[in-house]
């Protein structure tokens, strides 16, 4: 759990939330991603505060609907709110989430400083998710979605996504 996150709910609610995945990166649950900022069960109503990763991320609406229906299936009423502050950062992706990303073929976010160097075309920074070589190059600052950049490994030639650091 990340600093500032409020979590007052039963195991059943937790399991329901753990079952909801990011539609764009289906290996990550909404909990791994750190977008659920508050869960509180108050008189049978589960209040959920959700924060967007990127302002225009089309996956947010899907995640909100999926969370609501997962909880409603368990018989809960749901009150969903979208909160903007504090703004989401890639630091909120859990340790498990980072490992899942790497296994899935997406390099997980580096520190702000290394990220800047990597996106400015710096060499030997982002490790290939296929063969783990750091002999990689930046192809494009924007990848298949706004949150990712595109890299290619110069050793195994595999192209792969890098989840950009957002601070």
């Amino acid at each position: 759990m990340v600093k500032g996150q409020i979590y007052i709910a039963s195991k059943e609610i937790q399991d329901a939330l753990e079952s909801v995945c990011d539609p764009e990166i289906p290996v990550l649950t909404v909990m791994d991603l750190g977008v659920v900022r508050r869960v509180e069960e108050i008189d049978g109503v589960v209040e959920v505060d959700l924060t967007p990763t990127y302002s225009g991320c089309p996956a947010m609406d899907t995640m909100a609907t999926d969370i609501s229906s997962a909880l409603m299936k368990k018989g809960y009423k749901v009150k969903m709110s979208l909160v903007l502050s504090p703004a989401w950062t890639t630091d909120w992706i859990s340790k498990e989430g980072r490992e899942k990303l790497e296994k899935y073929g997406i390099a997980s976010p580096l520190t702000e400083e290394l990220d800047l160097q990597a996106l400015m075309g710096g060499d030997r920074i982002v490790a290939c998710t296929n063969c783990h070589s750091i002999n990689t190059k930046l192809i494009s600052q924007f990848g298949s979605t706004a949150c990712k950049a595109l890299f290619q490994c110069k050793d195994c030639l595999e192209p792969f996504d890098y989840f950009k650091c957002l601070k």
Binding site: Y54, S55, G56, C57, L119, I139, F142, G143, A146
Partner: protein, 251 residues
């Protein structure tokens, strides 16, 4: 402070992003290369996301049956407050990049002030948007340098795009009565402070890119008062077509 003023200020902030986002969306599938195509449409998506935040807040203030959608799709040309620069057509990649660079730089400087706005909601939107805008500026300023300091042809076309679009830049900094009121309330940005930082940054980037700041006077534009070029109506025709032809349609 009047609620009406804050409402209009939110439209002014949102319209710049919405009109530019629409222009960028026109490039979907038409970008000069796959990477730039994806980058420009990703930027468009970020901007539309930011617009939603402004318009959701604006709809809340307006009350009644106003929604973010009614604000986006049911206003006429004169009710839009974007600067004229943003409605200018794509022309070529040089124009796309010049327009983007001027806006990204202005927007970054403006958002850096809005993060400490007295209005907590505007401040929250600004914190979120600023993170994204920094990425956009990195992309556009890189391309300014790459094209400006590239081949003879890319240099010429980049310079000509700048010569065409720079005269529209002055409008960003011409403070309207509304912006003055918002500044005095501690809600809005101080455009005068932004101007000097903007000029300094343009000078620095252009020097690296081997480009010249044109010695042309600013155009007398009044987009922030709702007076636009014909370009805006073409945009609105496309943007609003569905809601105008099939009112309240959803899918």
């Amino acid at each position: 402070m009047k609620k009406e003023s804050l409402y209009k200020y939110l439209l002014l902030l949102g319209d710049n992003s919405m009109i530019l986002a629409h222009r960028l969306s026109e490039l979907c599938g038409h970008g000069p290369a796959l990477e730039t195509d994806i980058a420009l449409t990703n930027i468009s998506l970020d901007l539309f996301g930011q617009v939603r935040s402004y318009f959701q807040y604006a709809a809340e203030l307006k009350g009644g049956d106003a929604t973010e959608d009614s604000i986006a799709f049911l206003r006429y040309g004169r009710e839009h407050y974007n600067c004229i620069l943003l409605e200018q057509p794509n022309v070529d990649f040089g124009h796309v990049i010049a327009r983007q660079f001027f806006f990204d730089l202005f927007q970054k400087l403006q958002l850096e002030q809005l993060v400490s706005s007295n209005d907590k909601k505007i401040a929250a939107i600004a914190v979120k948007s600023l993170k994204e805008t920094k990425y956009h500026l990195r992309f556009s300023s890189e391309w300014i340098k790459r094209l400006g300091d590239g081949t003879e042809e890319s240099h010429e076309r980049m310079q000509s795009a700048i010569d065409n679009l720079y005269p529209f830049v002055g409008e960003f900094f011409k403070e309207t009565d509304l912006e003055k009121e918002m500044k005095e309330e501690g809600i809005g940005a101080d455009l005068f402070l932004i101007k000097s930082a903007f000029d300094k940054e343009v000078m620095k980037t252009f020097a690296e890119a081997n480009l010249k700041i044109p010695e042309i006077a600013s155009r007398m534009t009044q987009g922030k008062y709702g007076i636009h070029t014909e370009q805006l109506d073409y945009i609105l025709n496309e943007l609003q077509y569905m809601q105008r032809a099939y009112p309240n349609m959803e899918w």
